[in-house]
Amino acid sequence: MNPILTVAGKEFRDGLRNRWIIAITLIFALLSLGLAYFGAAASGRVGFTSLDTTIISLASLAIFIVPLIALLLAYHTVVGEEEQGTLLLLLTYPLGRGQLLAGKFLGHTGIIGISSLLGFGIAGVVMATFSDETALAELLGAYSYFIVSVMMLGLVFVAFAHLISVLVAEKTRAAGLALLVWFLFVLIFDLALLGALVATEGKVGADIFPYLLLLNPTDVFRLANLAGFEAAQAHAGLSTIATPEILSPGFLLGVLSLWIAIPFSLAVWLFSRRQA
């Protein structure tokens, strides 16, 4: 069997064994069901509301939770093996360093993929059953798009986790660095951007603002899910400044792919030239 698949298979089974897959699936399912049921509580009623409002609430929450889950899932992937002595052993086996990382990444892709599909999928089926909306087919497309973008957001941070994991020599430092990355992209970046916009009274950078948002994968995810919805206009906040015409859903997924490919390639490159 291909060594990449062997490593991926082990990584995926580890995900099953240490209950990561079931935990992520449950978190996603409960979140989406909860938001779907109680999402309209502010307007004085409970019960399954319109799917598009749910997706927007979900996307806002996913921005915080998905990167964290992905980072926690994978930050120790190389440094952990190093600490338990198996990395040195693996490097003496007939598989390349790139293959080892690719296998691990593939395994993590499987974990994130299956959990998102199951978690949000189950919730989607429940919502579709109870919802009396008519334009179900249309919303189904939006929901599928949401699930795909969640997976990609997860993979972006799995790629960051791999990068962190080959950079540091200790697991604890990797954990610290992972939290830092999370803070940077989920909280600080937007705050800094907003600050810059307010400080310059919007004169500087108004034109390039949408493109600045592309520098943060979580914003790309937000744009991708919010921009397309009419209902989003009221919720999107920062992202409404961006012009949706330029930032088409397909283009945004492409940007997310780049956000996966760049950190991961960097990780492979660093890992290959590192001295053991």
Binding site: M1, P3, T6, V7, K10, D14, R17, N18, Q84, G85, T86, L88, L89, L90, L91, T92, Y93, P94, L95, G96, Q275, A276
Partner: protein
Amino acid sequence: MSPTAVEFTQASKQYGRFVAVDGLDLTIHQGEVIGLLGHNGAGKTTSMKMLLGVTSPTSGTVRVFGEDPSGQQAHTLRQKLGYLPESVSFYEQLTGLEVLRYFARLKRVDTRGCEALLEQVGLKEEAIQKRVKTYSKGMRQRLGLAQALLGEPRLLLLDEPTVGLDPLATRDLYAMLDQLRKQGVTIILSSHVLPGIERHIDRAAIMGQGRLLAVGSLEALREHAELPLLIQVRGGNAREQADALDSLGVTCTPVQENQLEVKGSASTKMEVLRRLMQQPGVEDIDVLPPSLETLYAHISLQGARP
């Protein structure tokens, strides 16, 4: 002479300013069992890593079965190698059998042989189904050895294999090594624990501070170092015995009234013994050849001197 298994030619490895291995020249023939001896930090592990292609020498060359271990053909070469790292805790959540199967798949070896291999290294049927977390140090080492033996390697590298093992496990390990030696496997065995390994190696290579201090069979090394023979005599009068040996040029140290220690060159051994036998009241004579440990202390002391 059998073909070459391993060849270091002026191989050096530097990590920043730290010189881990310094101009190593060493040839190991196929089927040979060589002990790589030295303190921690002498360069043993780094030398092994160069052989395994995990790290490449900063200067000089390393060849394993005539090939560059970090070159193009490394993957086919690696299937012929087996390695037991100094400390490996494996995947705690997996069972011993699962761990071995994973490594077997990576080495492209049939996983059906895994149970038999674990049995061969002495892991019991019920143990292989338990999680590695519950394993003792000795059991982990056995699992590690099984891993190293996957795919019947032609060259086996064992880094400090006896550290932390109880005497019984150590004996088992050496018994297994002797068996592999009979099958013609080339074995490189690193150790800083010297007693016990003497009988199981063909040659010793002694390293210190990254350099090869001495290499050869144990007898050759002993002669080379001209280490004195030690004879202990018990019973009789130590003073009188010392007088009898006076003309032989040996040093006699009475330890107690009836106990004598004689140090001298190996060539005087028979004559010393003959004269001691004639002494009245001698109860016991012990002839102690210099152990690897004294040899090692002697050689590394020389190496430390400029």
